[in-house]
Symmetry: C2
Subunit: 271 residues, 2 copies
Protein backbone atom coordinates (compact mmCIF):
# COMPACT_ATOMS: atom_id res chain seq x y z
CA UNK A 1 0.00 0.00 0.00
CA UNK A 2 0.89 3.64 -0.41
CA UNK A 3 3.34 5.09 2.11
CA UNK A 4 4.87 8.55 2.31
CA UNK A 5 7.55 10.14 4.48
CA UNK A 6 7.71 13.94 4.76
CA UNK A 7 5.54 14.47 1.71
CA UNK A 8 7.23 12.01 -0.64
CA UNK A 9 6.82 8.32 -1.36
CA UNK A 10 8.91 6.40 1.16
CA UNK A 11 8.65 3.48 3.55
CA UNK A 12 11.44 4.05 6.05
CA UNK A 13 12.51 6.58 8.65
CA UNK A 14 15.66 7.29 10.61
CA UNK A 15 16.33 5.15 13.67
CA UNK A 16 17.05 8.43 15.51
CA UNK A 17 13.39 9.51 15.28
CA UNK A 18 11.95 10.52 18.65
CA UNK A 19 8.64 8.92 17.75
CA UNK A 20 10.44 5.60 17.99
CA UNK A 21 12.68 6.49 20.93
CA UNK A 22 9.99 7.91 23.22
CA UNK A 23 6.64 7.75 21.45
CA UNK A 24 7.21 11.49 21.10
CA UNK A 25 4.45 12.26 18.62
CA UNK A 26 0.80 11.94 17.68
CA UNK A 27 -1.33 10.13 15.14
CA UNK A 28 -4.66 10.24 13.35
CA UNK A 29 -6.48 7.37 11.67
CA UNK A 30 -8.55 8.81 8.86
CA UNK A 31 -11.27 7.24 6.72
CA UNK A 32 -10.73 7.99 3.03
CA UNK A 33 -13.78 7.77 0.74
CA UNK A 34 -13.79 8.83 -2.89
CA UNK A 35 -10.26 10.18 -2.45
CA UNK A 36 -11.32 12.59 0.33
CA UNK A 37 -10.45 12.40 4.04
CA UNK A 38 -13.62 12.15 6.09
CA UNK A 39 -13.93 14.56 9.04
CA UNK A 40 -10.76 16.28 7.87
CA UNK A 41 -11.13 19.43 9.98
CA UNK A 42 -11.78 17.42 13.13
CA UNK A 43 -8.65 15.34 12.60
CA UNK A 44 -6.51 18.37 11.82
CA UNK A 45 -7.85 20.29 14.82
CA UNK A 46 -7.17 17.44 17.23
CA UNK A 47 -3.67 17.03 15.81
CA UNK A 48 -2.98 20.77 16.10
CA UNK A 49 -4.24 20.73 19.68
CA UNK A 50 -1.96 17.77 20.46
CA UNK A 51 1.04 19.50 18.88
CA UNK A 52 0.32 22.58 20.97
CA UNK A 53 0.10 20.55 24.18
CA UNK A 54 3.33 18.66 23.41
CA UNK A 55 5.09 21.78 22.01
CA UNK A 56 5.69 20.14 18.62
CA UNK A 57 6.06 23.00 16.10
CA UNK A 58 4.00 21.64 13.23
CA UNK A 59 3.48 23.42 9.91
CA UNK A 60 -0.29 22.92 9.69
CA UNK A 61 -0.59 24.21 6.13
CA UNK A 62 2.09 21.89 4.82
CA UNK A 63 0.53 18.95 6.63
CA UNK A 64 -2.92 19.64 5.20
CA UNK A 65 -1.52 19.81 1.68
CA UNK A 66 0.38 16.55 2.12
CA UNK A 67 -2.64 14.79 3.57
CA UNK A 68 -4.92 15.92 0.74
CA UNK A 69 -2.41 14.86 -1.90
CA UNK A 70 -1.98 11.50 -0.20
CA UNK A 71 -5.68 10.77 0.19
CA UNK A 72 -6.23 11.85 -3.41
CA UNK A 73 -3.79 9.20 -4.51
CA UNK A 74 -5.05 6.57 -2.05
CA UNK A 75 -8.64 6.81 -3.27
CA UNK A 76 -10.34 4.45 -0.79
CA UNK A 77 -9.19 3.03 2.52
CA UNK A 78 -7.53 4.26 5.68
CA UNK A 79 -4.84 6.92 5.90
CA UNK A 80 -2.83 6.78 9.09
CA UNK A 81 -0.97 10.01 9.76
CA UNK A 82 1.89 10.01 12.26
CA UNK A 83 3.62 13.22 13.31
CA UNK A 84 6.77 12.93 15.42
CA UNK A 85 9.11 15.52 16.91
CA UNK A 86 11.67 14.31 14.35
CA UNK A 87 15.26 13.17 14.81
CA UNK A 88 17.45 14.00 17.75
CA UNK A 89 20.48 12.78 19.63
CA UNK A 90 20.44 11.14 23.05
CA UNK A 91 18.35 12.45 25.93
CA UNK A 92 14.73 13.29 26.69
CA UNK A 93 15.12 17.07 26.28
CA UNK A 94 12.99 18.21 23.33
CA UNK A 95 15.34 19.94 20.88
CA UNK A 96 14.86 23.70 20.67
CA UNK A 97 14.67 23.53 16.87
CA UNK A 98 12.65 20.37 16.22
CA UNK A 99 11.86 19.40 12.63
CA UNK A 100 8.70 17.33 12.92
CA UNK A 101 8.43 14.28 10.68
CA UNK A 102 5.18 13.39 8.87
CA UNK A 103 4.42 9.78 7.95
CA UNK A 104 1.42 8.71 5.92
CA UNK A 105 0.49 5.03 5.76
CA UNK A 106 -2.30 3.77 3.53
CA UNK A 107 -4.21 0.58 4.22
CA UNK A 108 -7.28 -1.09 2.77
CA UNK A 109 -10.66 -0.58 4.36
CA UNK A 110 -10.97 -2.84 7.47
CA UNK A 111 -13.21 -5.85 6.96
CA UNK A 112 -15.63 -5.44 9.87
CA UNK A 113 -18.74 -7.65 9.66
CA UNK A 114 -21.88 -5.68 8.73
CA UNK A 115 -23.57 -7.27 11.75
CA UNK A 116 -21.39 -5.16 14.06
CA UNK A 117 -23.36 -2.09 13.03
CA UNK A 118 -26.75 -3.73 12.45
CA UNK A 119 -27.05 -6.24 15.32
CA UNK A 120 -24.45 -4.90 17.72
CA UNK A 121 -21.31 -6.35 19.23
CA UNK A 122 -20.20 -8.10 22.38
CA UNK A 123 -17.74 -6.15 24.48
CA UNK A 124 -14.80 -7.84 26.20
CA UNK A 125 -14.26 -6.57 29.76
CA UNK A 126 -10.52 -5.79 29.75
CA UNK A 127 -8.59 -6.26 32.97
CA UNK A 128 -6.00 -3.72 31.79
CA UNK A 129 -6.74 -0.38 33.43
CA UNK A 130 -5.89 3.05 32.06
CA UNK A 131 -3.49 5.13 34.12
CA UNK A 132 -4.58 8.66 34.98
CA UNK A 133 -2.34 11.29 33.40
CA UNK A 134 -4.07 14.64 32.85
CA UNK A 135 -1.10 15.97 30.84
CA UNK A 136 -1.72 13.37 28.14
CA UNK A 137 -5.46 12.76 28.53
CA UNK A 138 -7.51 13.18 25.37
CA UNK A 139 -4.48 13.16 23.05
CA UNK A 140 -3.99 10.53 20.37
CA UNK A 141 -0.27 10.27 21.18
CA UNK A 142 2.14 7.48 20.35
CA UNK A 143 2.39 6.06 23.90
CA UNK A 144 -0.11 3.25 23.43
CA UNK A 145 1.24 0.27 25.38
CA UNK A 146 -1.91 0.17 27.51
CA UNK A 147 -4.00 -0.40 24.37
CA UNK A 148 -1.54 -3.03 23.09
CA UNK A 149 -1.75 -4.95 26.37
CA UNK A 150 -5.53 -4.60 26.58
CA UNK A 151 -6.05 -5.78 22.99
CA UNK A 152 -3.79 -8.75 23.71
CA UNK A 153 -6.20 -9.94 26.42
CA UNK A 154 -8.59 -11.65 24.02
CA UNK A 155 -8.34 -13.57 20.75
CA UNK A 156 -11.93 -14.83 20.54
CA UNK A 157 -13.41 -13.06 17.48
CA UNK A 158 -16.79 -13.07 19.25
CA UNK A 159 -15.61 -9.87 20.95
CA UNK A 160 -15.33 -7.01 18.46
CA UNK A 161 -14.03 -4.55 21.05
CA UNK A 162 -12.90 -4.34 24.67
CA UNK A 163 -14.05 -2.07 27.48
CA UNK A 164 -11.38 -0.09 29.29
CA UNK A 165 -11.72 1.34 32.77
CA UNK A 166 -9.28 3.53 34.66
CA UNK A 167 -7.31 2.45 37.72
CA UNK A 168 -10.11 3.74 39.95
CA UNK A 169 -12.60 1.53 38.12
CA UNK A 170 -14.40 4.25 36.16
CA UNK A 171 -15.62 3.36 32.67
CA UNK A 172 -13.60 5.29 30.06
CA UNK A 173 -13.72 3.94 26.51
CA UNK A 174 -13.13 1.01 24.16
CA UNK A 175 -9.62 -0.04 23.15
CA UNK A 176 -10.04 1.77 19.82
CA UNK A 177 -13.43 3.48 20.26
CA UNK A 178 -15.31 5.86 22.50
CA UNK A 179 -18.33 4.67 24.46
CA UNK A 180 -21.75 6.25 24.93
CA UNK A 181 -24.58 5.30 27.26
CA UNK A 182 -28.21 6.23 26.69
CA UNK A 183 -30.39 6.64 29.76
CA UNK A 184 -33.88 8.11 29.60
CA UNK A 185 -33.15 9.74 26.28
CA UNK A 186 -29.90 11.36 27.48
CA UNK A 187 -26.48 10.66 25.97
CA UNK A 188 -23.73 10.03 28.52
CA UNK A 189 -20.04 9.69 27.77
CA UNK A 190 -16.93 9.69 29.92
CA UNK A 191 -15.09 12.84 30.89
CA UNK A 192 -11.62 12.42 29.36
CA UNK A 193 -9.75 14.80 31.64
CA UNK A 194 -7.69 12.07 33.31
CA UNK A 195 -7.22 9.49 30.55
CA UNK A 196 -8.68 8.28 27.27
CA UNK A 197 -8.59 9.47 23.67
CA UNK A 198 -10.98 12.23 22.59
CA UNK A 199 -12.17 10.63 19.36
CA UNK A 200 -13.21 12.77 16.41
CA UNK A 201 -16.42 10.73 15.99
CA UNK A 202 -17.22 11.29 19.66
CA UNK A 203 -16.85 15.03 19.07
CA UNK A 204 -18.97 14.92 15.91
CA UNK A 205 -21.76 13.00 17.67
CA UNK A 206 -21.70 15.39 20.65
CA UNK A 207 -22.10 18.32 18.27
CA UNK A 208 -24.92 16.59 16.38
CA UNK A 209 -26.69 15.86 19.66
CA UNK A 210 -26.35 19.50 20.77
CA UNK A 211 -27.76 20.70 17.45
CA UNK A 212 -30.77 18.40 17.90
CA UNK A 213 -31.56 19.23 21.53
CA UNK A 214 -30.50 15.77 22.69
CA UNK A 215 -29.32 16.16 26.28
CA UNK A 216 -25.69 15.23 26.83
CA UNK A 217 -23.73 14.49 29.99
CA UNK A 218 -19.92 14.34 29.96
CA UNK A 219 -18.87 13.03 33.34
CA UNK A 220 -17.44 10.14 35.33
CA UNK A 221 -19.25 6.83 34.83
CA UNK A 222 -19.02 3.95 37.23
CA UNK A 223 -19.16 0.35 36.06
CA UNK A 224 -22.51 -0.46 37.69
CA UNK A 225 -24.10 2.41 35.78
CA UNK A 226 -23.53 0.60 32.46
CA UNK A 227 -26.00 -2.05 33.50
CA UNK A 228 -28.71 0.52 34.20
CA UNK A 229 -28.31 2.08 30.74
CA UNK A 230 -31.11 1.68 28.19
CA UNK A 231 -28.65 1.58 25.28
CA UNK A 232 -24.89 1.39 24.86
CA UNK A 233 -22.88 2.09 21.76
CA UNK A 234 -19.30 2.57 20.58
CA UNK A 235 -18.05 4.93 17.94
CA UNK A 236 -14.95 5.74 15.96
CA UNK A 237 -14.10 7.52 12.75
CA UNK A 238 -13.70 4.34 10.66
CA UNK A 239 -16.78 2.29 11.48
CA UNK A 240 -19.13 5.00 12.74
CA UNK A 241 -21.40 3.48 15.42
CA UNK A 242 -21.61 -0.06 16.76
CA UNK A 243 -24.38 -0.85 19.23
CA UNK A 244 -23.20 -2.89 22.22
CA UNK A 245 -25.55 -5.81 22.71
CA UNK A 246 -23.66 -7.78 25.35
CA UNK A 247 -21.15 -7.27 28.16
CA UNK A 248 -20.45 -9.34 31.25
CA UNK A 249 -23.58 -11.54 30.85
CA UNK A 250 -25.85 -8.54 30.40
CA UNK A 251 -27.80 -7.92 27.18
CA UNK A 252 -29.01 -4.72 25.61
CA UNK A 253 -31.35 -4.22 22.66
CA UNK A 254 -30.22 -2.01 19.80
CA UNK A 255 -31.92 1.16 20.98
CA UNK A 256 -33.87 3.91 19.26
CA UNK A 257 -31.38 6.72 19.87
CA UNK A 258 -28.50 4.52 18.66
CA UNK A 259 -30.45 3.85 15.45
CA UNK A 260 -31.29 7.51 15.08
CA UNK A 261 -27.62 8.53 15.37
CA UNK A 262 -26.64 5.83 12.88
CA UNK A 263 -29.19 7.32 10.51
CA UNK A 264 -27.74 10.80 10.91
CA UNK A 265 -24.26 9.42 10.24
CA UNK A 266 -25.50 7.71 7.10
CA UNK A 267 -27.17 10.87 5.83
CA UNK A 268 -24.48 13.40 6.67
CA UNK A 269 -21.25 11.39 6.38
CA UNK A 270 -22.27 8.69 3.92
CA UNK A 271 -21.59 5.78 6.35
CA UNK B 1 28.16 7.34 14.71
CA UNK B 2 27.71 3.63 14.36
CA UNK B 3 24.13 2.38 13.86
CA UNK B 4 22.82 -1.12 13.25
CA UNK B 5 19.42 -2.56 12.41
CA UNK B 6 18.76 -6.27 13.04
CA UNK B 7 22.42 -7.10 13.37
CA UNK B 8 23.70 -5.22 10.32
CA UNK B 9 24.88 -1.68 9.67
CA UNK B 10 21.82 0.43 8.91
CA UNK B 11 20.22 3.71 9.88
CA UNK B 12 16.57 3.32 8.97
CA UNK B 13 13.58 1.19 9.83
CA UNK B 14 10.17 0.52 8.33
CA UNK B 15 7.43 3.06 9.01
CA UNK B 16 5.22 0.06 9.92
CA UNK B 17 7.28 -0.69 13.03
CA UNK B 18 5.14 -1.00 16.16
CA UNK B 19 7.83 0.71 18.19
CA UNK B 20 6.95 3.86 16.26
CA UNK B 21 3.21 3.26 16.07
CA UNK B 22 2.62 2.48 19.75
CA UNK B 23 5.93 2.66 21.60
CA UNK B 24 5.57 -1.13 21.56
CA UNK B 25 9.06 -2.04 22.71
CA UNK B 26 11.84 -1.54 25.22
CA UNK B 27 15.28 0.02 25.39
CA UNK B 28 18.56 -0.08 27.27
CA UNK B 29 21.21 2.62 27.44
CA UNK B 30 24.55 0.94 27.96
CA UNK B 31 27.95 2.37 28.85
CA UNK B 32 30.69 0.97 26.61
CA UNK B 33 34.26 1.09 27.94
CA UNK B 34 37.23 -0.55 26.24
CA UNK B 35 34.86 -2.13 23.74
CA UNK B 36 32.84 -3.92 26.46
CA UNK B 37 29.28 -3.21 27.62
CA UNK B 38 29.29 -2.35 31.31
CA UNK B 39 26.76 -4.20 33.51
CA UNK B 40 25.87 -6.37 30.52
CA UNK B 41 24.03 -9.09 32.44
CA UNK B 42 21.92 -6.53 34.29
CA UNK B 43 20.87 -4.86 31.07
CA UNK B 44 20.08 -8.16 29.36
CA UNK B 45 18.14 -9.44 32.36
CA UNK B 46 16.01 -6.29 32.56
CA UNK B 47 15.35 -6.44 28.84
CA UNK B 48 14.39 -10.13 29.01
CA UNK B 49 12.07 -9.38 31.93
CA UNK B 50 10.47 -6.56 29.94
CA UNK B 51 10.00 -8.78 26.90
CA UNK B 52 8.37 -11.40 29.09
CA UNK B 53 5.99 -8.86 30.61
CA UNK B 54 5.07 -7.43 27.19
CA UNK B 55 5.01 -10.87 25.49
CA UNK B 56 7.67 -9.89 22.95
CA UNK B 57 9.33 -13.14 21.81
CA UNK B 58 12.97 -12.08 21.82
CA UNK B 59 15.87 -14.34 20.82
CA UNK B 60 18.13 -13.54 23.78
CA UNK B 61 21.17 -15.38 22.40
CA UNK B 62 21.04 -13.54 19.10
CA UNK B 63 20.62 -10.22 20.86
CA UNK B 64 23.61 -10.82 23.12
CA UNK B 65 25.79 -11.70 20.13
CA UNK B 66 24.68 -8.58 18.24
CA UNK B 67 25.26 -6.35 21.23
CA UNK B 68 28.75 -7.72 21.85
CA UNK B 69 29.71 -7.35 18.21
CA UNK B 70 28.36 -3.79 18.18
CA UNK B 71 30.11 -2.68 21.36
CA UNK B 72 33.31 -4.30 20.13
CA UNK B 73 33.15 -2.10 17.08
CA UNK B 74 32.00 1.02 18.97
CA UNK B 75 34.93 0.92 21.38
CA UNK B 76 33.99 3.78 23.70
CA UNK B 77 30.72 5.62 24.23
CA UNK B 78 27.07 4.79 24.69
CA UNK B 79 25.20 1.97 23.00
CA UNK B 80 21.46 2.44 22.94
CA UNK B 81 19.60 -0.78 22.26
CA UNK B 82 15.97 -0.63 21.16
CA UNK B 83 13.86 -3.77 20.80
CA UNK B 84 10.43 -3.43 19.21
CA UNK B 85 7.68 -5.94 18.43
CA UNK B 86 8.55 -5.41 14.76
CA UNK B 87 6.34 -4.55 11.83
CA UNK B 88 2.61 -5.06 11.66
CA UNK B 89 -0.48 -3.84 9.89
CA UNK B 90 -3.18 -1.66 11.43
CA UNK B 91 -4.58 -2.28 14.89
CA UNK B 92 -3.34 -2.65 18.46
CA UNK B 93 -3.54 -6.46 18.55
CA UNK B 94 -0.04 -7.89 18.99
CA UNK B 95 0.59 -10.21 16.00
CA UNK B 96 0.70 -13.89 16.93
CA UNK B 97 4.01 -14.32 15.10
CA UNK B 98 5.91 -11.15 15.91
CA UNK B 99 9.42 -10.71 14.56
CA UNK B 100 11.08 -8.33 17.00
CA UNK B 101 13.37 -5.67 15.58
CA UNK B 102 16.72 -4.82 17.20
CA UNK B 103 18.23 -1.37 16.76
CA UNK B 104 21.65 -0.36 18.05
CA UNK B 105 22.63 3.31 18.13
CA UNK B 106 26.10 4.42 19.11
CA UNK B 107 26.84 7.86 20.53
CA UNK B 108 29.87 9.53 22.09
CA UNK B 109 30.31 9.62 25.83
CA UNK B 110 28.06 12.37 27.32
CA UNK B 111 29.98 15.44 28.45
CA UNK B 112 28.79 15.74 32.06
CA UNK B 113 30.84 18.16 34.18
CA UNK B 114 33.13 16.36 36.67
CA UNK B 115 31.67 18.57 39.39
CA UNK B 116 28.36 16.68 39.11
CA UNK B 117 30.01 13.68 40.75
CA UNK B 118 32.47 15.50 43.02
CA UNK B 119 30.45 18.45 44.34
CA UNK B 120 26.91 17.31 43.63
CA UNK B 121 24.09 18.69 41.55
CA UNK B 122 21.02 20.83 41.96
CA UNK B 123 17.75 19.03 41.31
CA UNK B 124 14.88 20.70 39.46
CA UNK B 125 11.50 20.00 41.08
CA UNK B 126 9.43 18.89 38.06
CA UNK B 127 5.72 19.70 38.06
CA UNK B 128 5.09 16.78 35.68
CA UNK B 129 3.82 13.83 37.70
CA UNK B 130 4.20 10.16 36.84
CA UNK B 131 0.98 8.23 36.25
CA UNK B 132 0.53 5.02 38.19
CA UNK B 133 0.42 1.96 35.94
CA UNK B 134 1.51 -1.26 37.65
CA UNK B 135 1.47 -3.16 34.33
CA UNK B 136 4.31 -1.00 33.01
CA UNK B 137 6.05 0.00 36.25
CA UNK B 138 9.75 -0.76 36.38
CA UNK B 139 10.06 -1.37 32.64
CA UNK B 140 12.29 0.73 30.40
CA UNK B 141 9.65 0.78 27.68
CA UNK B 142 9.28 3.17 24.76
CA UNK B 143 6.30 5.13 26.16
CA UNK B 144 8.29 8.02 27.55
CA UNK B 145 6.21 11.14 26.95
CA UNK B 146 6.13 11.89 30.67
CA UNK B 147 9.93 12.12 30.70
CA UNK B 148 9.92 14.26 27.54
CA UNK B 149 7.46 16.71 29.11
CA UNK B 150 9.29 16.73 32.43
CA UNK B 151 12.69 17.34 30.80
CA UNK B 152 11.12 20.17 28.80
CA UNK B 153 10.25 22.01 32.02
CA UNK B 154 13.72 23.51 32.51
CA UNK B 155 16.50 24.84 30.27
CA UNK B 156 18.71 26.38 32.98
CA UNK B 157 21.91 24.28 32.92
CA UNK B 158 22.25 24.89 36.68
CA UNK B 159 19.90 21.90 37.08
CA UNK B 160 21.58 18.66 36.01
CA UNK B 161 18.48 16.55 36.68
CA UNK B 162 14.83 16.83 37.65
CA UNK B 163 12.89 15.19 40.46
CA UNK B 164 9.75 13.28 39.49
CA UNK B 165 6.89 12.49 41.83
CA UNK B 166 3.80 10.43 41.13
CA UNK B 167 0.27 11.81 40.88
CA UNK B 168 -0.21 11.15 44.60
CA UNK B 169 2.86 13.26 45.37
CA UNK B 170 5.25 10.44 46.33
CA UNK B 171 8.89 10.84 45.36
CA UNK B 172 9.83 8.34 42.64
CA UNK B 173 12.98 9.09 40.66
CA UNK B 174 14.89 11.53 38.46
CA UNK B 175 13.94 12.08 34.82
CA UNK B 176 16.79 9.78 33.73
CA UNK B 177 18.08 8.48 37.07
CA UNK B 178 17.01 6.69 40.22
CA UNK B 179 17.10 8.46 43.56
CA UNK B 180 18.42 7.29 46.94
CA UNK B 181 18.07 8.88 50.37
CA UNK B 182 20.41 8.19 53.27
CA UNK B 183 18.98 8.51 56.76
CA UNK B 184 20.88 7.36 59.87
CA UNK B 185 23.10 5.11 57.79
CA UNK B 186 20.20 3.44 55.95
CA UNK B 187 19.69 3.58 52.19
CA UNK B 188 16.14 4.37 51.11
CA UNK B 189 14.80 4.23 47.55
CA UNK B 190 11.32 4.30 46.06
CA UNK B 191 9.24 1.20 45.55
CA UNK B 192 8.69 1.04 41.78
CA UNK B 193 5.55 -1.09 41.80
CA UNK B 194 3.31 1.68 40.47
CA UNK B 195 5.61 3.72 38.22
CA UNK B 196 9.24 4.49 37.54
CA UNK B 197 12.10 2.72 35.79
CA UNK B 198 14.04 0.05 37.69
CA UNK B 199 17.53 1.20 36.74
CA UNK B 200 20.36 -1.30 36.45
CA UNK B 201 22.63 0.94 38.55
CA UNK B 202 19.93 1.05 41.24
CA UNK B 203 19.90 -2.74 41.25
CA UNK B 204 23.68 -2.95 41.35
CA UNK B 205 23.88 -0.54 44.29
CA UNK B 206 21.14 -2.38 46.19
CA UNK B 207 23.09 -5.62 45.76
CA UNK B 208 26.34 -3.99 46.87
CA UNK B 209 24.60 -2.57 49.93
CA UNK B 210 23.16 -5.96 50.82
CA UNK B 211 26.59 -7.59 50.47
CA UNK B 212 28.06 -4.98 52.87
CA UNK B 213 25.37 -5.10 55.56
CA UNK B 214 24.15 -1.61 54.70
CA UNK B 215 20.47 -1.51 55.63
CA UNK B 216 18.13 -0.85 52.72
CA UNK B 217 14.49 0.22 52.61
CA UNK B 218 12.48 0.02 49.37
CA UNK B 219 9.21 1.76 50.05
CA UNK B 220 7.02 4.79 49.40
CA UNK B 221 8.72 8.12 50.10
CA UNK B 222 6.85 11.34 50.69
CA UNK B 223 8.23 14.68 49.59
CA UNK B 224 8.74 16.05 53.11
CA UNK B 225 10.94 13.07 53.93
CA UNK B 226 13.56 14.25 51.42
CA UNK B 227 14.27 17.25 53.61
CA UNK B 228 14.91 15.09 56.66
CA UNK B 229 17.46 12.94 54.77
CA UNK B 230 21.14 13.17 55.73
CA UNK B 231 22.25 12.56 52.14
CA UNK B 232 20.60 12.36 48.74
CA UNK B 233 22.06 10.96 45.55
CA UNK B 234 21.06 9.98 42.03
CA UNK B 235 22.40 7.10 39.99
CA UNK B 236 22.31 5.70 36.50
CA UNK B 237 24.38 3.35 34.42
CA UNK B 238 26.20 6.08 32.47
CA UNK B 239 27.36 8.52 35.13
CA UNK B 240 27.32 6.28 38.20
CA UNK B 241 26.45 8.42 41.24
CA UNK B 242 25.76 12.14 41.53
CA UNK B 243 25.25 13.57 45.01
CA UNK B 244 22.28 15.96 45.24
CA UNK B 245 23.41 19.13 47.00
CA UNK B 246 20.35 21.32 46.45
CA UNK B 247 16.60 21.05 45.89
CA UNK B 248 13.82 23.53 46.57
CA UNK B 249 16.03 25.93 48.63
CA UNK B 250 17.36 23.11 50.80
CA UNK B 251 21.05 22.14 50.85
CA UNK B 252 22.73 18.86 51.57
CA UNK B 253 26.42 18.09 52.08
CA UNK B 254 28.00 15.33 50.02
CA UNK B 255 27.65 12.57 52.59
CA UNK B 256 29.88 9.77 53.77
CA UNK B 257 27.78 6.89 52.47
CA UNK B 258 27.45 8.58 49.06
CA UNK B 259 31.25 8.89 48.91
CA UNK B 260 31.69 5.30 50.02
CA UNK B 261 29.38 4.02 47.27
CA UNK B 262 31.17 6.17 44.69
CA UNK B 263 34.41 4.53 45.85
CA UNK B 264 32.96 1.05 45.44
CA UNK B 265 31.77 1.99 41.94
CA UNK B 266 35.23 3.25 41.05
CA UNK B 267 36.90 0.11 42.31
CA UNK B 268 34.52 -2.49 40.91
CA UNK B 269 33.20 -0.87 37.73
CA UNK B 270 36.06 1.48 36.85
CA UNK B 271 33.94 4.68 37.05
Amino acid sequence: MLRWVDGRPGETLSSLDRGLAYGDGLFETIAVCHARPRLLEYHLQRLADGCRRLSIPLDAKLLRAELLAFTGELGEGVAKLIVTRGDAGRGYAPPAEAEPRRLLLGSPWPSYPDANATQGIELFPCATRLAEQPLLAGLKHLNRLEQVIARGEWQDPRFAEGLMRDLSGRVVEGVFSNLFLVRQGRLITADLGRCGVAGVMRRWLLEQAAARQIAVEIRDIDYAELFRADELFLCNSLYGIWPVCRLDRHDWPVGALTRKLQGILRTLLDF
